[in-house]
């Protein structure tokens, strides 16, 4: 009896290979427990609104008006909506050809792409071409599109930082490419040492892999480190010499919690370096409305900007985008609002900046609370979250715990995280989902739980951790790297 097409054996092998820990075993177990009535604190996904962060008022007012344009004719509309939100809704509606319900250009509404180009110019000091900016349903779709265009077969390698956000490993598996990991240095605050990259490249090439692209995540996920200017320069030089396209995931560019290394875009550094490099290195940069202080994950608004890709290549990417018809229009408007927010003098400006500042300041405080909380545990070492939304503490596990994990058929960090979940309701993602050096264990949590809940959460963690350590060892003899 031949297998049926959707029997497990017949499934696309690449699909079977895909692993995506962020919504994997821990998440599913947490959901089960939640159904049973246990209180769960979901810190597995960077999903701010689900943890109580309020949406910014102005964008929601504008998009609501765009959804219901008949309101704009209603004399009572000013009772509920400020004049600048009304004006902005009209502005965005005029960019569409039929409102939110019409497919836009497959690359996104030209008006929004223009606004993004202006934003990039203000941010970096260099003009940006709106024709090279494509909007997507979330940055993830853009990443997938680019990887799909690059990966031809299993000998095409993509350099990915480890630890990494598993969208990259999952997508590379799905498209049948080869993931070439380069390790970040935990002891150097997750710094990027180009020697590690070169080592990985050499090994991969010795195995017959053609390296096609390098991914950087800046600020990092899960690691949070912000790349320095010098770092970015050497990466770009490296890509130039090795003929790699640089994929710069910059979705956390608004989430910076230290002042020594503000965000600098890869594109700015590239252009600063001048010709020939600035005209040769192929770069794709990604951004989103899901992070920052907006946190509008459910709206699926993202874009990518292409630099130094040939017009024919851009056309092919456009063609593939057209198969999906168009990115969702409300998400596009969120993007426009993000890059073109209320300005000083606008009616909504004060409220908008107060709301934004409150979120960012709180995130910075929470980054500290969490880092300090983890570091107060003897067997936990946690680099400071310089940026992004996560904390990635290293948990040093005693040999007995590792044994117990093995007996239970689980990786040690999965074992630890499951126990943490059962004991405290804190749902994290085991470090193995992101990649880590052999024998070194981490977990990823977000810094998103409400600030007032943080002390209790960290206390709960510490209690669990110390009891766990009691159970499996006295404080002597934890596993070292």
């Amino acid at each position: 009896m031949p297998p049926k097409p959707l029997d497990y054996e017949s499934l696309n092998e690449n699909v079977k290979k895909v692993a995506y820990a962020v919504r994997g075993e821990l998440y599913l177990r947490a959901s089960e427990l939640q159904k049973e009535g246990k209180k769960i604190i979901f810190t597995n996904v960077g999903n701010p609104h689900a943890l109580g962060q309020k949406p910014l008022t102005f964008p929601r007012q504008v998009v609501a008006l765009c959804q219901a344009p008949f309101l704009l004719e209603d004399p009572n509309v000013a009772l509920l909506f400020p004049a600048d939100a009304i004006a902005r809704a009209k502005h965005y509606l005029s960019m569409t050809s039929g409102g939110l319900g019409a497919y836009s250009d497959s690359r996104g509404l030209p008006g929004i792409r223009n606004e993004i180009a202006e934003f990039i110019k203000r941010r970096d000091g260099y003009p940006s071409d709106p024709e090279l900016i494509f909007l997507t349903d979330g940055a993830s779709k853009g990443v997938m599109q680019m990887l799909n265009s690059i990966i031809r077969n299993d000998r095409d390698g993509i350099l990915v930082p480890v630890p990494q956000y598993p969208l990259y490993s999952a997508t590379i598996s799905l498209y049948g490419g080869s993931l070439v990991p380069y390790y970040l240095e935990e002891e150097e605050n997750w710094g990027l040492d180009l020697d590690n990259v070169k080592k990985s490249v050499a090994t991969a090439r010795a195995n017959g892999i053609t390296i096609r692209a390098m991914v950087i995540i800046n600020p990092g996920n899960p690691t949070g480190q912000c790349l320095s200017e010098a770092n970015l320069k050497e990466i770009l030089l490296f890509c130039y010499r090795e003929n790699l396209v640089l994929l710069a995931d910059e979705v956390y560019q608004q989430n910076i919690y230290q002042d020594e290394r503000p965000f600098i875009s890869a594109r700015k550094i590239l252009l600063d370096m001048g010709p020939p490099i600035s005209k040769e290195v192929q770069l794709v940069s990604f951004h989103t409305v899901s992070k920052g202080y907006w946190g509008e994950c459910g709206q699926r608004g993202g874009y990518f900007e292409m630099t130094n890709l040939s017009p024919q290549t851009v056309d092919e990417i456009y063609k593939v985008a057209s198969v999906s018809l168009s990115p969702n229009v409300p998400g596009q408007i969120f993007l426009g609002l993000m890059v073109n927010p209320p300005k000083p003098g606008d009616i909504s400006y004060l409220k908008y900046s107060a709301e934004s500042k409150a979120v960012l300041d709180s995130l910075r405080r929470r980054a500290h609370i969490m880092t300090d909380g983890f570091n107060s545990c003897k067997n936990v070492v946690c680099n400071f979250t310089e940026g992004a939304m996560y904390s990635f503490p290293q948990i040093r596990l005693p040999p007995k715990a590792i044994e117990a994990a093995k007996k239970a058929g689980k990786a040690p960090d999965v074992f630890y995280c499951l126990k943490l979940l059962e004991a405290t309701g804190i749902s994290t993602v085991p470090g193995s989902g992101f990649g880590q050096k052999d024998g070194v264990f981490h977990l990823r949590t977000t810094i998103l739980p409400a600030e007032q809940d943080m002390p209790a959460i960290m206390a709960s963690f510490k209690k669990f951790n110390d009891e766990f350590m009691e159970q499996y060892e006295n404080y002597r003899g934890f596993s070292r790297i």
């Binding site: 029997d7 609501a64 692209a213 699926r300």
Partner: protein
């Protein structure tokens, strides 16, 4: 040192599946139209028409169709829930819209429409959709069988990812075919097994043709995995008879094929004698359960009378999957999109649970719905009659969907001229039509057609008052084209 010719991503080094993929609906004809549009703007009066009419794509609201008021009220309130409990809100929104928005937010974790939902889509909304499906079909529907996606197209792409491992994996598709399928199969590197619809019998689907193509593919070493059926059809507009659907199901069951039932036009039926029966309903009515057959049914917020293309609402209902497969599907959903866009999810739930008799908004809702649907029916008829009245053009009735697919009998001279211009004859005709009239249609070659026959796909969506003008310009163009190229 790198030079432009050896840069990492060039046409020479891009994924060849990307190169192979084609999508005519947004292809060359549209670029041509956009250029013309810019020219028109810059030099008004320089053409014999004063606007471009985009009949290439099923994009109703871009051509003036208004959205359903109730749906937009609910969406606006879900976008800005802080106004829900303000008194002034009652002055601007209907009471049942306020109630519905509240109901929807109650099923969204933390009432956060801006948060990621489950990758499969918010459970509470899937439950509403499942109830709507059950009420439509008269058979139970499980919310866990539903995957909400960014438009039905995303769900189709996901299924192709699941089914296709190599170029030996075949998917049977109707010809003519909505190019989403050919493009998705090409992108995934699979094999398209065509089965021809019969133009002479109103685009009829014969099981003998299915069998023939299946065996042919099999003999070539292709493992046929699934069969795509589009009901109502795109571009062809025919609505399947129940008996036909049963034959298709029997065939797929026998050959262990997954049925991929594209039902996005289920709310667009224009003829009294036909009605929509979902494949799910027919499968269940035949007594088949999950172990008998795998069926994936697609629906969308983009069509019907709601036409919300830009919101990207859609879902698939997948029955007959093993647990292991369901897990992989879930994983794919996670990777592909983290979660489907929230406004699209909400729309899908509204479509499957619209206002009912007795609801405050029911009357205005049904007036809007019936107004749009009856207008679409009139436009379908007007264009069908017009095409059939032109010598050398024959056109099957559009029983449903949003398009007409007239056959243009092109004289030899025209075909030669097309060849000389390095163009396919129907593309040649379509470009000439555009230049003369501003009307944008899609050449039939983008959909597949019997070799030697030529068609164009024209949507029925321009507003009703524009239709007579379109018809007269089309007729005038056709006559002069035929005169120019008569044998």
């Amino acid at each position: 040192m790198s030079t432009t010719s050896s840069s990492a991503v060039t046409l020479a080094s891009i994924n060849p599946k990307v190169l192979k993929c084609e999508y005519a609906v947004c292809g060359e004809i549209v670029s041509h139209a956009q250029l013309l549009q810019e020219d028109l703007k810059a030099k008004p009066g320089s053409y014999s028409f004063d606007e471009i009419v985009y009949c290439n794509i099923g994009n109703p609201q871009s051509l003036g169709q208004p959205p359903v008021t109730f749906f937009r009220e609910v969406l606006a309130l879900c976008d800005h829930p802080s106004i829900l409990d303000r008194d002034e809100t009652h002055a601007l929104f209907s009471a049942d819209a306020i109630a519905r928005a509240t109901e929807i937010l109650d099923v969204i974790p933390a009432r956060a429409a801006g948060g990621y939902s489950s990758s499969q889509g918010t459970k509470g909304l899937r439950e509403v959709i499942a109830a709507g499906i059950a009420s439509r079909d008269g058979y139970p529907c499980n919310a866990d069988d539903i995957f909400l996606t960014d438009g039905a197209s995303s769900a189709v792409r996901m299924m192709m990812q699941l089914l296709i491992s190599s170029e030996k994996d075949g998917i049977m598709c109707p010809i003519p075919l909505c190019p989403l399928y050919s493009a998705s199969i090409a992108l995934q590197g699979g094999f398209l097994v065509p089965y021809c619809l019969d133009e002479t019998t109103g685009w009829g689907l014969e099981t003998s043709e299915l069998r023939k193509q299946f065996e042919d593919a099999h003999s070539k070493g292709i493992t046929v995995k699934a069969l795509v059926v589009i009901n109502p059809g795109n571009p062809t507009g025919q609505v399947l008879e129940e008996e036909n659907q049963r034959q298709i199901i029997e065939f797929c069951k026998k050959e262990s094929l997954v049925i991929l039932a594209d039902e996005v036009y289920q709310d667009n039926i224009y003829v009294e004698e036909k009605k929509f029966n979902s494949f799910k309903k027919i499968v269940r009515s035949m007594g088949f359960c999950d172990k008998d057959i795998s069926l994936v049914s697609f629906h969308s917020a983009s069509k019907g009378f709601y036409g919300e293309c830009g919101q990207r609402g859609g879902y698939m209902e997948a029955i007959g999957f093993s647990y292991a497969v369901r897990e992989h599907n879930y994983k794919l959903a996670c990777v592909n999109h983290c979660c489907p866009v929230m406004s699209g999810q909400i729309l899908a739930s509204l479509i499957m649970n619209p206002p009912k008799p007795g609801d405050e908004s029911y009357e205005s809702f049904s007036i809007e719905r019936d107004g749009i649907l009856s207008s679409l029916a009139r436009r379908a008829k007007a264009l069908e009659d017009a095409f059939n009245s032109i010598e050398g053009v024959t056109c099957n009735k559009a029983e449903g969907a949003m398009y007409l697919f007239p056959r243009i009998h092109l004289p030899k001279k025209a075909i030669e001229a097309a060849k000389a211009a390095n163009s396919l004859p129907d593309a040649f005709y379509a470009h000439r039509l555009l230049d003369a009239t501003g009307i944008v249609v899609v050449p039939g070659s983008g959909f597949g057609q019997v070799p030697g026959t030529w068609h164009v796909r024209c949507s029925i969506l321009p507003q009703e008052d524009k239709i007579p003008g379109i018809i007269s310009r089309f007729k005038a163009f056709h006559e002069s084209f035929m005169q120019e190229f008569q044998d």
